[in-house]
Amino acid sequence: MLVVNRFAMIAALAALVTTCAVGQQPTQNAPAEPPADAGRPRFGGFPMGPPGKIMELKAEPSVIGPGQSAIIRWRAINADDIYFDQCLGIVPAIGKVVVSPAATSTYTFTAKGRAGGDQKSVTITVVGTNPIPPSTDPGCVDPHNQPIPQASDGHPDLSGVYIAGFNFSAMNRGAEVKPGAEKYKLTEKETEIGIGVTCTPPGVPAATFQPYPMQIIQKPGLVVILYEAYGIFRVIPTDGRLHPDDLDPTYMGNSVGHWEGDTLVVDVTGFNDKTEIANYHHTTAYHVVERYHRVSYEELDYDATIDDPNVFAKPWVQSAKMRLHPEWQIQEYVCEQNNKNYQDLLITKDAKKKK
């Protein structure tokens, strides 16, 4: 429900901006044909669709003898939620798995996208056996509804791959700029192109809000977060230690954590002034307190209390609901590999004067 409400807010804001926009005319040749996604709801300028679709689902071989194995292969497109029944669970968009059913079994495959989904089944016949019904094990019937894992030290285990950026968006609560601090506002040019175009780390909490996954690795006394975007990491001691004195200013700051009940609280300080928050530069006085609370198997509530007495009138909160993706691995992301010169695309008056 929360997601739906946020999508509704996004759609309303997008409609408002569209209504208010004046003088925006397409600068290119007339489209050759109507856009394939015309009329679909839009998410921050991106369409919601097309719907999830199963392109391939097959068993190799589809007939086996008792005790033999088969491989199920699949490929789904445009889907955010992809899973099998029969205890195979949540799977990536493209994959294969070896199965050894004791008797003839039918595997149902579902691929749900933001604009609809698809479902297909594949049967593996085991010679000399009768078909068996799908498992009624609760963990197999609903792969999304698992218990929250517990760590060996009694805390909830937050370990897993999560994403906040695409399916959920950041919410700001109580942001108020300090009088006289407008000088910290990003310039038109910086806002238009985004300061991440330099491939430098986005800072905290912006690293969490990237449309790329991050992996939390939790050990007793230690939490490590690996961010796919920009290939950055954070090491967060939770053994009671304090921040070192005289910290070197860094993009991602220095983190120490502790547990408050089921919530991991992380204090972050020691930042440089090279990242931004809510379209404002911050200073080296920037300070963030993060709260990670796994509210269900699949959802983690994330809050970041933002404070910079040079820029903001009071601390304020940015938050997001993050979703677990047990089927994903974070991948290599080398921003410098093919970073383009986006300066040529700038449309600010300042940029046009220089042309």
Partner: protein
Amino acid sequence: MIRKSATCFLIALAAIAVFVPAALAHHSTAMYDMEHPSTFKGTVTRVEWTNPHAYIYLNVKNDKGGVDEWAMEINSPNFLHHNGWTSNTVRPGDVITVTGGAAKSGARTMRCTSVTLADGTVLRS
């Protein structure tokens, strides 16, 4: 007109105070006209399967009877894999149709939100 604009501005300001979209990867899309999608059909000349964004270069017929090469920006390979793409989904010589926001500057580049393959398969990008 002025009153309408002022009202819109105040409402938008109030909304932004409550809601701020998540940071987009790497760069803003403000330089692309995402609110007025364009669609182009053309022949793929090359593909850059790279971070931070993959690119499809497309030869598109212009209104002067010639051909222009467009740089079609799509998401990162990792995102594309999650959406069922592989590095061989689009190859040089393929005739495809892309939809997205063209650069407001007039440069021949676009941020694509969907790609339609020759067989009609539509992939978000």
